[in-house]
């Protein structure tokens, strides 16, 4: 996982609530054998017309949002099934930050495993951010995870809360496996003892 660095990026707006994982990545794409490449199918049913062409009415198809790294969305983002394909698709598309009032539990946890920072804001704060994007499409926000701060050109900046353990992992780019491997010496020691106690498992 890439370490999460302070960045200034375009914030894309999708003013929709209860976006579920079936909409984030529709189930016809789950049979793929790759983990990468799901970004091409992110929000597929909204993003593309039946003939496969881009749907110009879909928010993220606006050219100004093309290089956005920040996604500003309505309440309860990521509800539905527990599929890990949803955060894979979001990260693969190029987002590393989501701003919303709330997320589904499993989705929220899965974000951290994929280098995505899900920021929780109040409804009032979200309204301000949405208004700022609407007034000035293509506006860039600065996200500073180390200081838990977001700043915006119109002065709608705020600070946010995040579990310090998760904050540290995002900053260092450690995924769950990396975290476990911090204890690799303990695993190796366990294995040594395991070989003594249960030698028949090692032949």
């Amino acid at each position: 996982m890439e370490p999460y660095k302070k960045h200034e990026s375009i914030a894309a707006l999708m003013n929709r609530s209860n976006v579920d994982t079936d909409q984030i990545i529709p189930k016809q794409f789950l049979k793929k054998v790759e983990r990468s490449g799901f970004g091409a199918h992110l929000f597929h049913d909204w993003r593309f017309n039946d003939d496969g062409s881009d749907n110009p009415d879909f928010e993220l198809n606006k050219p100004v949002f093309k290089d956005a790294k920040i996604l500003v969305v309505g309440d309860n983002f990521g509800c539905g099934s527990s599929r890990e394909h949803a955060p894979w698709a979001i990260a693969d598309y190029g987002f590393n930050t989501i701003i919303s009032t709330s997320y589904a539990d499993i989705f929220y946890n899965n974000c951290f495993k994929n280098g995505i920072l899900p920021i929780v804001v109040s409804a009032e704060q979200l309204d301000k951010l949405m208004a700022e994007i609407n007034a000035n499409e293509g506006v860039k926000f600065v996200v500073d995870l180390e200081n838990k701060q977001v700043t915006t050109p119109a002065g709608n900046g705020f600070s946010f809360e995040i579990d310090p353990f998760r904050q540290g992992n995002l900053l260092s780019g450690l995924d769950d496996i990396g975290l476990t491997l911090i204890h690799e010496d303990k695993i190796t020691a366990y294995e040594q003892q395991h070989k003594q106690t249960y030698p028949w498992l090692w032949v």
Partner: protein, 465 residues
Amino acid sequence: MKKTMYEKIWDSHLVIEVPGQAPLIYVDRHLMHEVTSPQAFEGLRLSGRKVRNPHSILATMDHCVPTKDRDLPIADPIARKQIEVMAENCRENGLNLYDMKNPNNGVIHVVVPEHGFVHPGMVVVCGDSHTATHGAFGALAFGIGTSEVEHVMATQTLPQKKSKTMLVQVNGKLSRYSSAKDIALAIIGKIGTAGGTGHVIEYAGEAIKDLTMEGRMTLCNMAIEAGARAGLIAPDEKTYEYLKGREFAPKGASWDQAMAYWQSLPSDEGAVFDTVITLNAEEIEPQVSWGTSPEQVIGVNGTVPSPDSFDNEGKRKACESALAYMGLTPDTKITDIPIDLVFIGSCTNGRIEDFRIAAEVTKGTKVAPGVKAIAVPGSYHVKHQAEAEGLDKIFLDAGWEWRDPGCSMCLAMNGDELTKGQRSASTSNRNFEGRQGKGGRTHLVSPAMAAAAAAAGHFVDIRKL
């Protein structure tokens, strides 16, 4: 302190406990199939990591493999891709794979015990919820997600929350023709599909001791349908007898050393469980599920319940929608429900004794007009054993199809499936909407009940045949 078997296995596999994080436990065996592993392999590649202990892994192809015409190329391009990628991943990482053409091929949870790959006291994982099957050997075995598959490959460990313990005590003797499947369904009927949530179940009592290893696997297999993380049965003489001489079982002096460990595993006398449930085996009739959840199940002499018979609003609603989906009306006798298709197979009931009992019931009968009946052995070894005993002939003479091994109609991913509105008697484990094909209606039963239904064209009480 007196410990349960679960606590003993947990304690002996604890690698490290870090405050604020889930404890890390060690994994002895990792089982794999083609559907939940490809992204895990890719994740490993992308991060430049390696499989830590290749010898801990055994892989098969089962979910999307065809069960007939295996010599032809696989028609479904996605299935073909999954098969190819699996073969490539196993080759690249030096893993033991029983591919489609291998004489050891079959459904993962049927194949693994056949080779003695799982032993009492192990921690066993697989990207598949029916991993609980291996609890029959007194191993702590549970299903995991794709990122956990990657985690185990890279570290041989898994962060885990400790579960609560539940004792399911089944006293007395099963009547003839009631089986392990009926015990499993009766338990789920009693405690519900959320009954075991957060728990590891240990099954004990006379009826459990009496089960064969195959029967114990059937029972533990469905612990997951009772909501539990895993199911466990204490190892005993039957367990050791089963394991002895199998390919991956300990040999010589190792065997004695292993036995000493295995014999220390059963729960201590007086160990305390968080929850205790008791059933009387004598009261367990052959079961038939009538709804779209395994807890919607009743004895074969019962009738389809009415939504009003439930005092809980949620269950009433669930009954209503299940009846609508299943096309059933309340008070219909279970034995009056006609069926279109019969499936015997899956990791729940695809072992040799399942085909023996089904053949015993099938012998001299004919599949009822309009009914299609398919027998799908859980592995090539099961298939060949059955053929050596002449069971295939009994099925074929009665008008059944006799297939190659695979998951087949258990999840209908390989093209074997129900069409809309078709009704099956199935020995698999899940009767969810669409599980056996879009709009398909599944009734879960034991192999003997399935065989009897094939001949009659509707459910029958096999005890009356």
